[in-house]
Amino acid sequence: MKNVSRFMTAAAFAAITSFVPTAYAETPKDTLIQAWAIDDVISLDPAEVFEFTASEVLGNSYQPLVGYDVNDVSKIFGVIADSWTISDDGMTFTFNIKSDLKFASGNPITAADAVYSLVRAVKLNKSPAFIITQFGFNPDNVEANIRQKGDLSFEFQMDKPYAPTLVLYCLTATVGFVVDKELVVSHEVDGDFGYNWLKTNYAGSGAFSIREWRANDVIVMEKNDNFSGAMPAMARTIYRHIPESATQRLLLEKGDIDIARNLGAEEITALQSDPNIIIESGVKGSIYYLGLNQKNEFLSKPEVRQAMKYLVDYATIADTIMKGKVTVHQAFLPIGFLGALADKPFALNVEKAKNLLATAGLPDGFSVTMDTRNTPEITGIAQAIQQTMAMAGIKLELIPGDGQQTLSKYRARNHDIYIGRWGPDYQDPHTNADTFARNPDNSDAATSKPLAWRNAWDIPAMTVTADGAVLEADAAKRAEIYVALQKDHQETSPFVIMFQEIEVLGIRSNVKGFIVGPSFNDNSFRGVTKE
C-alpha cells in the first residue's frame, strides 16, 4: 500500500503545481474588448439585421444617408447624403450624395450605391423591409420609384405625402444603411443580391470594418482607414460572447475586458463601489408591458383592464428586481420620441382595483395565466405581479417558457396574458403607434398582425387616428396627435405599460468616450480612447 500512498501524494502534488500563478496583462491599449451575449446575431446584412447586437455592430461599420443627434433626436443631418429636397406634393425626396466619400474597399460612394441598397432591401424582403416598403414600395415598383438621377443624386418617390421626419427617421434604421454596390454585386449568385455572401461578410463605409464573425463566439472589427470622419483611436474592437452576467463581472473586475454589457441588478450594485469601474447608462426605447388578450372573457371587460393597471407595484419592481435597468413609464411612446407622454397615472392601489373588479361583476377575482419568458428578470417581474394581483383575488398562474416558445404562442393569440418587451424599429413615433394603437383587421386571417391584433383588440377609430398622424407634416401638430392617442390608450387599452429600459454598461475607468444612444445602432465606440 505504500505505492498507493506514494501515487496519491504525487497526484495531489501534480494537481497543486498545475495551478501555477500566472501574470496577465490588461487589454491592449489599441483594442476595445466587450463582453456581451451575442447569440442574437443571425446576419450581418443591413437588409436583414434587426437584432440588438448586430444593429450596434452595423451602426459602427456602415453609414446611413441621414442621422440624428443622439442627445437631441429632432436634429437630423446628412451622413452620406449632403442635402435633400421635398417636392411640392410632399411625395418625392431628392437626395444629393456627398462627393468625397469612400467605402472601406476603396470604391467611391455614389447615388448608385444608395439606390441599390434601398432597392435590394425591398426586393430581398427580409424582416426589416417593411420600414421601407411602408412608403408604398414593393418588389415590382421599387426600381421605378427609387431612381438614380445623376452620379450623386437620386429620387425617392412615395405613394403618399408622409411626414418628412417619419421618412428620414426610417432611413436612419439599419435597413437604410448604404452598401458597396460594386463589392456586393461581385458576390451575387443567381440573383440573390449578394445576400448569401453579405450575411456573413462586410461591404460598408463606417468607422470600423467587420473582419470576422464567429457565431456565439466572437465579432472582430478593425479601423476602416478609408473612413471619412474622425479616425477612431482604437485599431480594433472585439465582442466576446460571454452569456453569463456573473462571468462578465469577474472579467471586468480583473481587467480582461473593457466593457461588460449584460450586467444584472446585483452586479451593477456590487460594481458601483469599485473605483476601477464606471457604471454608465442610457435610456433606451424598449418598453416592458403586459398584453391582455381580449379573447379572454375576464380580460375583455374594460374595468378588469383598468384594475390590472392598479395591481402592479411599478415603483418597487423598478427599485429592486430591475434596479438601475428600468424607469417607470406608462405610455406606448418611450421618452425621447416625438410626442412621448410622461404621465404616470397608475400606481399599486389594491382598493381601487377591487372596486373596479366589483363593478365588472368579479368581486372575488378570477383565475388567469401569464406566459413568462424564463429569463431571471422577466421571471422576477412576473412573480412580483403575481403577488400583487393576488391581493385583489386574481389568481395568476405563470407559464414559464423559452423565448421562442412563448413568442410563438403570443403570435398565435393563444395566451391570456403575455409579459413582453418591445423595442422601437426606428426613431419615429409611428413605430410604436403602428403596433400598440393600430389594428386594421382583427380577424384571425389578418395579414397585418401588430401587438393590438395579438391581443385581439379591435380599434377601428384609433387606427384611423394613427394612420392620419403619419401624414401630418407639421411636427408640433403631429406631437399633439400622439399625446392624445397615448392618453386614450392609457385609459382604454389592454396593455399594462410598465417600464422603459435603461441600458447599463460596466466600463473600466480608463476607457472614455463610449456613447450610449437611444437605439442600439446609435451606440458608438468611434470616439473611445484608453488612458
Binding site: V4, A11, T31, D39, P243, L250, Q404, R411
Partner: protein
C-alpha cells in the same frame, strides 16, 4: 453470399469471415442513425416553437414570414420534409444553420474541437484520479479514507456545476489570479496561432508557441478539472464497486495464500479484471463529456458543441440540432466500438470467443 463461395457447415470460410460482423455493424449503424434522425426530427416538429420566427424575427411582415416558411420547406408534409433531409444527409449535406447562416458541417467543425479538447483533458483528469481513488476506497473499505472518498463522490454527484464553476472562477481567477478567465485563449494570443486541428493545446505545441500553450492551459485547467471531478466521482464509485467484487473472488485469496505481494494482488490481479467493465464506464463518461456540457460552457464562455446545440434547440434550428445529434450518435457508437475492441485486448476470454 453467392453459390460458389466456399463454406464449411454453412459458415463462411476464413477469407470471408470478416464480412458478417462488418455487415452486421453497418446495418446496426444505419438503423441507429436512422432512428436517431427520425426521433430528433419528430421531436423538432412537435415542440411548440415556430422555426420561422428564428429566421425572420418577431417584426417581420406576413409576406416575409410566408416566404421564409416556404424557403424552409415547412409547407410540405412532414414525411416529405424528412425524406428530403435524409436524401441530403446521406451524401453529407446537413443543410444550413438558420442562426449562423453557415453549413452545419462547417459549424460543427468549428465548435466540436473546443468540446473535444475540454472533454479529453477532463476525462484524463477524471481517470487519473478516479481509478486510484476508487481502488484505495475498495482496499480501505469501511475505513475513514473510504468514507472521505464517498463524500467526495457524493459532492461530485450533487453539487451544481455552474455553482462550482463560478466559485472556482471567483477563487482561482479573480482572487488568486492563478489561472486565466473564461474563454479558450487570451485575445493577445488568439490571432498569433494558426488553427490546424482546432485543438489549441495541440496546435500551439505543434507550432512551438509555448507561451500560447501556457495560456491555453491556464484557460482550460479549471473547467476541465471541474468536469474531470464529476467524471472522477463516477469512475471512483464504479472502480470501488468493481474492485470490491474482484477482491472477494477466490483467485485473490489464492494469490494471497501463495504469498504474492499485496500491491501485485491489487494493481495487477484485481484491477486488471476490474478494468474490463471500467473501460465501458470511462468510455460512456467520455461520450457524455463530448456531448458538450452546456452549463460549464456557459459559465466559462467556452464556444463548444453544448452551447451550439442548446442555442439551436431553443431557436428550433432543426438542421443544426439534427447535425449535432448525428455527431453525438457517432461518438457513442464509436466509443462503444472502441470499448468492445478493448474488451478483447483486456480479456482473454472474449478474445478466445472471438477466435
Amino acid at each position: 453470399m453467392t453459390p460458389n463461395q466456399p463454406t464449411i457447415g454453412g459458415r463462411l470460410c476464413a477469407p470471408f469471415a470478416w464480412a458478417i460482423p462488418v455487415t452486421k455493424l453497418c446495418g446496426t449503424l444505419a438503423i441507429t442513425f436512422f432512428g436517431l434522425l427520425l426521433l430528433t426530427f419528430l421531436i423538432g416538429r412537435v415542440v411548440p416553437v415556430d422555426p420561422v420566427l428564428a429566421v425572420v424575427g418577431d417584426r417581420a411582415s406576413q409576406s416575409t414570414y410566408d416566404a421564409a416558411f416556404i424557403e424552409l420547406g415547412l409547407d410540405k408534409p412532414v414525411y416529405e420534409q424528412f425524406w428530403i433531409y435524409l436524401q441530403k444527409a446521406v451524401v453529407g449535406d446537413f443543410g444550413t444553420s438558420m442562426l449562423t447562416k453557415k453549413d452545419i458541417a462547417e459549424d460543427i467543425k468549428r465548435v466540436f474541437p473546443a468540446t473535444l479538447e475540454l472533454a479529453t483533458v477532463a476525462i484524463l483528469i477524471g481517470t487519473i484520479f478516479g481509478l486510484p481513488v476508487g481502488v484505495l476506497a475498495a482496499v480501505k473499505q469501511g475505513k475513514l479514507i473510504d468514507q472521505i472518498v464517498r463524500v467526495i463522490g457524493l459532492i461530485g454527484y450533487s453539487a451544481p456545476i455552474f455553482w462550482l464553476g463560478l466559485l472556482g472562477l471567483l477563487f482561482f481567477y479573480a482572487k488568486l489570479g492563478w489561472i486565466a478567465g473564461p474563454g479558450r485563449i487570451d485575445i493577445a494570443y488568439e490571432y498569433s496561432i494558426t488553427q490546424i486541428t482546432g485543438l489549441l493545446l495541440l496546435d500551439t505545441a505543434l507550432q512551438g508557441q509555448w507561451d500560447a500553450f501556457g495560456n491555453v492551459f491556464s484557460h482550460i485547467i479549471l473547467p476541465a478539472s471541474l468536469l474531470g471531478y464529476y467524471s472522477m466521482a463516477y469512475i471512483s464509485r464504479m472502480t470501488r464497486s468493481f474492485m470490491l467484487n474482484e477482491l472477494a473472488q477466490e483467485y485473490i485469496t489464492t494469490a494471497r495464500v501463495k504469498g504474492v505481494a499485496e500491491w501485485r494482488v491489487i494493481w495487477i490481479h484485481a484491477l486488471r479484471n476490474a478494468a474490463v467493465p471500467l473501460v465501458t464506464v470511462i468510455a460512456l463518461s467520455y461520450a457524455s463529456l463530448l456531448e458538450g456540457s452546456v452549463l460549464t460552457e456557459t459559465v466559462f464562455a467556452w464556444p463548444g458543441l453544448g452551447q451550439y446545440l442548446t442555442n439551436s434547440l431553443q431557436n428550433a434550428d432543426m438542421n443544426a440540432v439534427l447535425g449535432g445529434t448525428l455527431v453525438i450518435g457517432a461518438i457513442f457508437v464509436g466509443l462503444n466500438l472502441v470499448s468492445d475492441l478493448l474488451y478483447a485486448v483486456l480479456d482473454p476470454r472474449v478474445r478466445s470467443r472471438n477466435d
